[in-house]
Symmetry: C2
Subunit: 337 residues, 2 copies
């Protein structure tokens, strides 16, 4: 027989199922001797509690559902990794689903997770998600949910995000204090929220430090390697190059590296490059990329903690939005004067 159940154990011992159930859970009702006997048999017949049955009765699954847009983006891999870790510390299992940046998949995933009666939900919406219906469903059912990294505008769920604006200002403060003043920005598109916020941070930092903003140094070309490369080449053809380029992400920074290499400019000797990113990827660069560090592990861990709080309803001092600090890591792509 493939699985041994509590009933099987009860029959062997000639006691009731209840006794077995209690003994297995170390319920104070049961005598030590009985517990010993029950556990012995359980061991013998290879008893594995049927979590499904347990969940049906207990109304809790001790399971958290995770929805990410894409695992191939290593940022999310790291975030998920830390969530899984943190969850298991709290004795929760995790069910991971991937929506591949597709709103339909995302909806389907969330519905499945509801069907599995997860105790809580950790979700990072796809780039295009706009339909709030599934989330209203979640709310109606009182399922605790926390958004991380990205947010669905207009919903009052709790969320954990980075503050790119502050991150950019802090980092550029350091750069400027170090004596740099000619700083350009390879921005994403301003109609994408991260693109806009990072660019805002860039502008604020310059203003704050009394530097003029030169529109020719803000190149809004996109988020991919090729875009960074193109921006670099375009900039190279102008007479006045900046000393530092702030890239909207690491892929764009990589494009700038490729461009610099092609035209024979040395990093950091001839030009300094920095970008929003995270440490593992920064180490892949040569020289290692100076980054405004968005630590996916901090994000993941924080999101899980907030969810736990939400699930235990201990959130008396709820802060609806948790902001994760970004930290400037001065690697080797900018000379420290």
């Amino acid at each position: 027989m493939a699985y041994c159940t509590q009933t099987d154990i009860a029959e062997k011992l000639n006691v009731s199922r209840v006794t077995v159930s209690k003994a297995l859970r170390d319920h104070p009702d049961i005598s030590p001797e009985m517990k010993r006997r029950v556990k012995e048999i359980a061991e013998e017949c290879g008893y594995t509690p049927n979590l499904i049955a347990k969940n049906l009765t207990s109304k809790r699954t001790l399971t958290i559902g995770i929805v990410v847009p894409d695992l191939e983006n290593s940022f999310f891999s790291y975030a998920v990794d830390s969530m899984v870790d943190a969850a298991s510390e709290h004795h929760y299992h995790t069910i991971l689903t991937v929506s591949r940046e597709n709103e339909q998949n995302e909806k389907y995933n969330i519905q499945s997770l509801i069907g599995m009666r997860v105790d809580g939900l950790l979700v990072c919406v796809s780039q295009r998600t706009s339909d709030p219906r599934v989330f209203e469903e979640v709310k109606k059912r009182n399922i605790p949910i926390v958004f991380f990294d990205r947010q669905l505008e207009g919903m009052d769920f709790r969320r954990v995000t980075f503050n790119d604006e502050i991150g950019a200002v802090d980092a550029l403060d350091q750069i400027i204090k170090n004596g740099y003043s000619r700083i350009g920005h390879f921005a994403g598109y301003s109609n994408v929220s991260i693109g806009r916020k990072r660019c805002d941070g860039y502008r604020k930092a310059l203003e704050k430090n009394g530097l003029k903003i030169d529109p020719a140094w803000i190149l809004a070309a996109g988020f991919e390697i090729q875009d960074g490369y193109n921006s670099f080449m375009k900039l190279y053809k102008t007479t006045k190059m900046p000393e530092i380029i702030l890239a909207v992400n690491d892929r764009v920074a990589l494009g700038a590296y490729k461009g610099a290499k092609e035209v024979g400019m040395d990093i950091p000797g001839d030009i300094g490059i920095m970008g929003f990113g995270f440490s593992e990827t920064a180490q892949m660069f040569s020289p290692t990329l100076s980054i405004i560090h968005q630590d996916p592990r901090k994000l993941g861990t924080a999101a899980l903690e907030v969810l736990i709080e939400e699930m235990q309803n201990t959130g008396r001092h709820k802060t609806r939005n948790v902001i994760i600090e970004e930290e400037f890591i001065w690697n080797n792509s900018i000379i420290k004067k």
Copy 2:
């Protein structure tokens, strides 16, 4: 009320629970009119089937448990991503667990998955796993299981792996046919199976092509960036440098890049570098790294397919071990003569 059940629907309609259950599943027993009415109410009250209860009765969970050593290794992220994709095509859910290269976690994860009564298991064991007991447990319970990438020696479960030896021979054949003959190898340690197999491939390729194997060109230093760097520096101090270096993985190749840069050698102009790896990482290199491509998606998809076969017991023509081919991708780190 948070959740609406079949019973709720039945009461509203004054029919039995069975009727509702059948109507919802489009059972031929039920009249179209009744189905319509049931579905209408279901929609109205926001009915979501309780998968847990369903599973308890149906004895199937339509869920596959995945165990990986580490998500921070992007190789596994990609593999998992493709598994999740492929699984959902077959209408299976996936539960992902991460063991962090720790045998204890791994054991715990597998036991949990058994407890959740997953229909099948996809596992990549940790580097140190040696205790076969959990796996014997799995076998005793007749839970279909497929090992991927790594294998636990001595168990006769099905597995899906790469063949590094063939991959190396194929790639080096191309290199040698292209006119190169002085080829070195930055190996891992030979007591680790992947290190050994890749090195064997290197040796075989040279022998096959009638080239002498120079022990001074085989540097077995480890698997990390620093090891590649050290090997490069050591090699650089000798008088005779090879034309090509085959690195045991991409991290070691990266170390070699750093070394080359430091001593002012141009890749691919002064030296060619290649390594075992996969395409996304190779693109991060500058110049892009020539790789013996271990495609994690091919691996993941194949593992899932084998598992599905195993679960459906249709494996009449079972091949116990599925080998995934590696393909040489000639990027920009080696000059094509």
